[in-house]
Amino acid sequence: MTESSTVRFHAGDRVRVRTAYSIGHVRTPYYVRGKSGVIERVCGSFPNPEELAYARAGLPPLPLYRVRFLQRELWTDYAGHPADTLEAEIYQHWLQAEDAPR
């Protein structure tokens, strides 16, 4: 039985989404690339959709996180409330630790 990859991040950790751009099936939206957020929860580990998209097994399962972003940090012209947030599910290999303090 393949083991899951090690869970690197935990709720409350600050992370940044990598700015890589590939072809193929990716579930990390363009608008969060390079953006910084906070882990809201660890969702569990799941087979990698980038591999499943090609009828491959996508193993070992990868940790999946919900990441919370401030809308005003996602969009330079954000017109809502400064506290408005957005949460998206991002796979671990798209995230790196963000060391800069808030």
């Binding site: 579930r27 939206p29 608008y31 569990g44 799941f46 947030t85 998206a88 599910e89 991002i90």
Partner: protein
């Protein structure tokens, strides 16, 4: 059972493709006509009623609500709802936070709890703008969120599916759980509208 062909009663190319694929799969023993018919009927029977059941129970039972917010799938199964492999996260609307759900990349949706998604949920307009200008999009549904309430958008990018637990309206204290469930609409549980009496 007659097919719904387009107006001049000829099949479009993609309608013909659907027939062709279905027939080939039946001939190859992959599935049967009965399988297709039963699945169509099962999906036809799905509407927002199971989602509303979850909401109404959460409104009347605080301990259940807490369990549901912690593990949505377990809570649904607790009520005997048939959700299959759905990985559910329920997000609660409060005076401080209003939640709204979108799938920018395609159209992910908690189908087992709400039925098939409406066209507008899958539209370019909703998918593009709900993440960037949620308050303007909500206003297009006639929903205005006060400036001091945070709007939180959930983009269903991966394996989880989302349901909004809307706020229980005032004046519903005497209603039974079943009556409360009847108030809750699909749009309330996507987060584009508030529950009305």
């Amino acid at each position: 059972m007659s097919g719904n062909h387009d107006q001049d009663d000829t099949l479009t190319y993609y309608q013909a493709m659907e027939s062709a694929v279905r027939e080939l799969l039946i001939e190859k023993g992959v599935l049967t006509a009965g399988d297709v018919r039963r699945q169509v009927e099962a999906m036809d029977a799905r509407g927002p009623q199971d989602g509303a059941t979850l909401v109404a129970r959460a409104w009347v039972d605080t301990a259940f609500k807490q369990r549901m917010l912690k593990d949505g799938s377990a809570a649904a199964r607790e009520l005997g709802l048939e959700i299959g492999p759905l990985k559910l996260i329920v997000v609660e609307n409060t005076a401080e936070v209003h939640n709204v759900i979108v799938c920018t990349l395609c159209s992910c949706y908690p189908r087992m709890l709400l039925g098939l998604p409406p066209d507008w949920y899958k539209s370019r307009s909703y998918r593009s703008r709900a993440v960037r200008e949620p308050r303007a999009v909500l206003a297009e549904f006639g929903t205005v969120i006060p400036a001091d309430c945070q709007v939180r958008v959930h983009d269903s990018t991966a394996d989880m599916r989302y349901l909004v637990l809307p706020r229980r309206p005032a004046g519903t204290e005497r209603l039974s759980e079943a009556e409360l469930a009847m108030l809750v609409t699909r749009d309330n549980m996507i987060g584009v509208s508030l529950v009305e009496i």
